[in-house]
């Protein structure tokens, strides 16, 4: 008989080869665009101006822009973006008004109707994938003012800004008269009737900081609004964070809610003296809580030791329940780096109910609150999505389905099963 390990090697090679042979050989355009954006971010960190990236980003814009944009007329000379007249419907109730490139990154100005108590039309400057927003706003024109603008800094170096906002519908032209003598032309765009517009939209793209006046004129060239424009402070560059993988140990191995936890990190030899922030976050990253900021430093041997208290609440609202959390370690200087380790938090309280997904396909055993539990009673044999578990006493818990079926568990000897090889009994 052939040796299992040889057979395994052959099988893995064959499977991997088959998978690779059936894969797409060329790099999808989407991947190029995503890499471009990543590279643009990274370039800021290094302080190196990558002319090639900017060049490619500009070129790439043609590939990134939607097909319906091709052939659209450009705006007047001196206006470095494209206006869509009429606006292009990109989704139900959502329209693209203008597009351009600033700081090497593409942007779209979108308009959409906000649902809810206060039904208004919102404007948003987004990247072409509509994944990230550079700036957004809801406006009160003409109820309170004739012109209302906000600023979106595009790109990571904050060199170019998009001034956008609402203006009364008599407007026909807009420009910025900067204090340094420049006249920067913008555009006035009418919203589609389906958005029930009460205002028109202004948009101006400006390089660098430009204090000055925003001037709006009507069809006859008469100035109807003049407002002082003071640009907001550009955002801090977002550094690309280097991911590293040192060795982390927790003592005790599981965090107990409200109790102290000793955290030891080894392998940070390249970062002696670095000041470390510790944050505990949900696995989904929706809520987080600082658990040590500015107190901990990497010693000369590349070792970090911290003693934290496992919080009971993350952020304002998230109550820590037994389960897995992300312990995130990060520093801002001398160079940004980041890594994380999963922390199991335990200490369920009697009477508290938690969402629970059993570990196996049957309900003979389950892990909860860092302990192994064995079924004591109950007819249900397989897990039901949406079920909960509640600690009734220190060693007894009740699993309950949304329909109210229950299984009672008791704490089991942790050596009763091997968690990785345990197989449910045949039904």
């Amino acid at each position: 008989m052939r040796d299992l390990e040889d057979e395994l090697r052959e099988l893995l090679d064959q499977r991997a080869e088959d998978a690779a042979s059936g894969s797409t050989v060329r790099m999808p355009a989407e991947v190029v665009a995503r890499v471009r954006r990543r590279q643009a971010l990274t370039a800021v960190l290094s302080g190196v101006t990558l002319v090639a990236i900017v060049f490619l980003s500009v070129l790439g814009t043609r590939a990134i822009l939607k097909p319906e944009m091709i052939g659209q007329p450009q705006g007047p000379a001196g206006r470095p973006f494209t206006v869509f007249d009429p606006p292009i419907r990109v989704a139900e109730g959502q329209f693209r008004l203008a597009s351009g490139v600033a700081s090497g990154e593409s942007w779209n100005l979108l308009a959409y109707r906000e649902e809810g108590e206060q039904e208004r039309t919102s404007l948003e400057v987004m990247d072409p994938s509509n994944e990230g927003t550079f700036g957004a706003g809801m406006f009160t024109v003409p109820e309170e003012r004739d012109l209302e603008t906000t600023t979106a800094w595009v790109g990571t170096n904050g060199n170019e800004q998009i001034i956008f906002g609402a203006v009364v519908q008599e407007a026909a032209d807009v420009h910025l008269e900067s204090e340094d003598g420049r006249t920067i032309r913008g555009a006035v765009i009418s919203l589609p009737e389906s958005l029930l517009p009460t205002f028109d939209v202004v948009v101006i793209q400006v390089s660098g900081r430009a204090n000055g006046d925003i001037v709006v004129a009507d069809e006859e060239g008469q100035e109807i609004v003049r407002e002082v424009y003071l640009p907001a402070t550009p955002p801090e560059p977002v550094p690309e964070v280097v991911e590293i993988s040192p060795h982390v140990t927790f003592s005790p191995p599981r965090g107990v809610r409200g109790a102290e936890l000793k955290v030891t990190v080894e392998g940070l030899d390249e970062y002696p003296g670095a000041q470390v922030d510790l944050t505990l976050a949900t696995m989904e990253g929706t809520d987080e809580q600082g658990v040590g900021s500015g107190e901990y430093r990497v010693d000369d041997n590349g070792r970090l030791e911290a003693t934290i208290t496992v919080p009971g609440v993350l952020g304002h609202e998230y109550h820590v329940v037994p389960g897995e959390y992300r312990m995130v370690f990060g520093v801002k200087t001398p160079e940004p780096w980041l890594f994380e380790e999963t922390l199991q938090v335990i200490a369920a309280a009697v009477g508290e109910k938690y969402a629970h997904s059993p570990n196996y396909e049957c309900l003979e055993y389950t892990y909860f609150d860092g302990r192994l539990w064995r079924r004591e009673s109950g007819d249900l044999t397989t897990p039901v999505p949406g079920s909960t578990i509640e600690l009734m006493a220190g060693d007894r818990a009740v699993y309950m389905t949304p329909e109210g079926k229950t299984v009672v568990f008791r704490v089991a000897n942790p050596a009763a099963i091997d968690p990785e090889t345990y197989q449910c009994p045949p039904t």
């Binding site: 299992l4 499977r15 991997a16 998978a19 990543r38 897990p383 990785e420």
Partner: protein, 174 residues
């Protein structure tokens, strides 16, 4: 599997070079990602995400010539990280994978269907450890670095994985 990279850091900012980098590393990366995920679409997504992450900070890699190594590390970390985040759905996902597997378009290697099913049934970290050991031929220390655990933990993961596979194979003595 390891591929050397004769490419300057500046060169990778050019689209042709980027494409070359992608094409050169794609087959090996897809192979590894497929073994980890058991699903070709998921494997392609995983490789693309890893590639984007890595190529995006290519100039900051300490050793750009070892792009293949970095890509492998990123693939494994990304895969395990995703699994951690969806662990609550693990049971249901596993059930779906088992349901889908018989209809897979991948051809079966004669006589190894049971073994492949066994590999796919291993817990994620066990499977990763087995794949790094028997497909990537990494040492225990290298695997430990990739999996962010101790050498003894890797040894245990591989041993348990092989043990589980033996139990699944007809005629194999545990």
């Amino acid at each position: 599997v390891e591929l050397s990279l004769e490419m300057s850091q500046e060169a990778v900012t050019q689209p042709a070079r980027l494409e070359e980098l992608y094409v050169r590393h794609m087959p090996a990366a897809i192979g590894l990602a497929y073994l980890l995920t058991g699903d070709r679409d998921a494997a392609e997504d995983l490789v693309q995400d890893a590639f984007v992450r890595l190529a995006g900070k290519f100039q900051h890699l300490r050793n750009p010539e070892a792009f293949g190594s970095y890509l492998r590390r990123t693939l494994v970390n990304l895969h395990l990280s995703r699994l951690r985040r969806i662990r609550v759905e693990r049971f249901h996902i596993a059930a779906e994978q088992r349901a889908i597997e018989p209809h897979s378009s991948m051809p079966d290697v004669v006589g190894s269907a049971d073994l492949w099913t066994g590999v796919q049934g291993l817990p994620a970290r066990q499977r990763a450890a087995v794949i790094l050991r028997y497909y990537e031929d990494l040492s225990e220390r290298e695997s430990a670095e990739l999996l962010r655990c101790s050498v003894s933990a890797v040894r245990s993961l591989v041993a348990r994985g092989i043990e589980a596979l033996r139990k699944k194979m007809p005629g194999e003595e545990p």
